[in-house]
């Protein structure tokens, strides 16, 4: 077999690098197209042949999303619903994860399996009964009408992540805390939780993303303009005879920003959070 050493740029050509580049392009090109198109003048978005850069450059689409449509309201609604859900999921998930991961109790395994089943339950199956329930208790077109089911659907996964993360923390941490004189809550708050932060970030980001992009329930429960979230709001852009692609693109870019920022800040934690507990428990 010939084993000639590749020199110059040739040495960068191998299967791994090529497939990496193809994968990255596969993800980046639509994203680029989204951003570039959002920055074009509204009427030139659909030009043929298309212009590959944002020319002619314009912020008109962004202005239109916020002024022409109520994107500001949708953004606010999404923020409220998502943040409230994430906070609830993290608080409950931390306590449940701690209990399931570190406290001696009966029925842990059963609880975990039930949680897993719930987390893979298709949302569409419970949509109709939930709608009736929400209507009866008057929660249609409200924030809590989304926050509660979102919490229910995201909590199991968060508990699993947090429980796995907590499993990896040595039990001596609590024992040494007890000897030092820390009570149960103090131990969780000052000793365990800081060490579980990566798990918390991971669970938080997953929950945030899921709520931020949820469409089905948001569409079904909240159809008043004042309570619409971003995915539903964007889908309703335009009317019978026109689809304002430029405005939709601009709104989508704005909608992506929070998730982008979150992932960028916490990317290290997310990776470590996902891999921890991989060999234990």
């Amino acid at each position: 077999m010939r084993n000639r050493k590749r020199v110059g740029w040739h040495r960068y050509i191998n299967g791994v690098i090529i497939s990496t580049v193809v994968t990255v392009l596969f993800i980046l090109i639509p994203l680029y197209w989204l951003i570039a198109s959002s920055l074009k003048a509204p009427l030139s978005v659909g030009n043929s042949p298309p212009s590959y850069g944002p020319t002619p450059f314009s912020f008109a689409n962004y202005k239109n999303a916020f002024v022409g449509y109520d994107f500001g309201i949708y953004f606010r609604n999404s923020i409220i619903v998502t943040l409230a859900t994430t906070a609830l999921v993290l608080i409950l998930g931390t306590l449940a994860g701690y209990a399931l991961g570190r406290l001696p109790m009966r029925g842990k395994f059963t609880t975990l399996v039930v949680l897993l089943i719930i987390s893979v339950f298709p949302a569409v199956a419970v949509l109709a009964p939930l709608y009736l329930l929400m209507r009866d208790i008057g929660w249609l077109n409200s924030y809590q009408g989304l926050i509660l089911p979102y919490t229910a659907f995201n909590l199991p996964f968060a508990i699993w992540i947090l429980r796995n993360y907590m499993l990896g923390i040595p039990k001596e941490m609590e024992e040494t805390g007890r000897i030092d004189g820390a009570g149960a809550l103090r131990t969780v708050w000052t000793i365990i939780l800081p060490q579980a932060l990566p798990g918390l970030f991971t669970a938080g980001i997953f929950c945030f993303t899921a709520c931020w992009t949820e469409f089905l329930m948001a569409l079904t429960f909240n159809n008043s303009n004042n309570f619409r979230t971003i995915p539903v709001g964007i889908a309703d852009f335009g009317g019978n005879f026109q689809v304002p692609y430029g405005t939709i693109f601009a709104a989508s870019v704005v909608a992506t920003v929070p998730i982008g920022i979150l992932v960028f800040i916490f990317r290290k934690f997310v990776v470590s959070g996902l891999t921890s507990g991989a060999v234990k428990g």
């Binding site: 040595p170 001596e172 941490m173 024992e175 040494t176 007890r178 000897i179 030092d180 004189g181 820390a182 103090r186 000793i191 800081p194 060490q195």
Partner: protein
Amino acid sequence: MATVSLQNINKVYENGFHAVKDLSVDIADGEFMVLVGPSGCGKTTALRMIAGLEDITSGILRIDGKEANDETPKERDIAMVFQNYALYPHMTVAENIGFALKLRKLPKDQLNAKVKEAADILGLTDWLDRKPGQLSGGQRQRVAMGRAIVREPSVFLMDEPLSNLDAKLRVQMRAEVQRIQRRIGVATVYVTHDQIEAMTMGDRVTVLRSGVLQQVDTPQNLYDNPDNVFVAAFIGSPAQNLYDAALTEGARSLKLGSQEILLPEAVRTKRPALASYAGKDVVVGMRPEHLPAAKPGETGPTLVGDVNLIEALGSELVVHFTIDAHRVIAEGALDKDEAEAVGAGEGVARVEAKTPVKVGDRMTFAIDIEDMQFFDTQTGLAIRG
């Protein structure tokens, strides 16, 4: 400053496992007590019961004379150093050391002064702002010590604190832990499975096996006068040579395989109890250093063995030999690999470095018969009196 007293302490786990059986030990104020035994002997469980991390099934634990069975770890005023140190990874060295004081709501200036004092004792002053992850194993170990001493507890508990260090550092830290303990003068319970650590560090040593107390004594007494075959085999490195043997009529001599060793009159008068074993089987123990090479024309009792391995340590030779007697292995005294390596009639002798001997030789050892130890075959107890 306090004493610790364990009275008939038992630990039975929910699954029925009886980890500690009727353990009674008294630890004096300022004493360095080592709990030693093979893994699974209940020594860590005993320590955790003293700490309050494990419930006591029955028996009474007293700390400073006061019953402590139902007290929380905090109320017992103890400090514990764990095998893996259990440092808080998100806190700096200073925060780690000061955490317990912070929980006691000590004013900040006092807290800082105490942390600094502890850091001075341990040579950690330059590292106070580091996180544990940035420290070496030895430094982490010292932080763990610092966290314990800063609280000025009445009892120190240490669970194999040196076992994660490499061999050289371990020897160094052994001395350091002792130095700190002497300086602070607090009663200390130190758990280890390493009998060398036990021998070198303890004022007294408690030997446990399968949850049962074997002997409590000073290291030298354990070595010289073990109460039973297990202690005889467990304490000492290389391990003691223990063989099945038979005393002849009148206990005048000892049959060791095909060899007969005369017991001088002096030995028999010193150990009158041997007379009752005349004509019976016994277990004899000979320390490796009590088997020097026989000089030409040796008149005293001797032992002849076939040399199969020689370890030259520079200062001495460790000669491994076999004889045709049955070697006694006390269960659990040696770890598995050691026990497998020890053949039927294996023995070890420590002889002078310049002794002319090579593998395959038939070598004659002089027996230091005064120091020979005798045990009952049935009970395994030392034959005394």
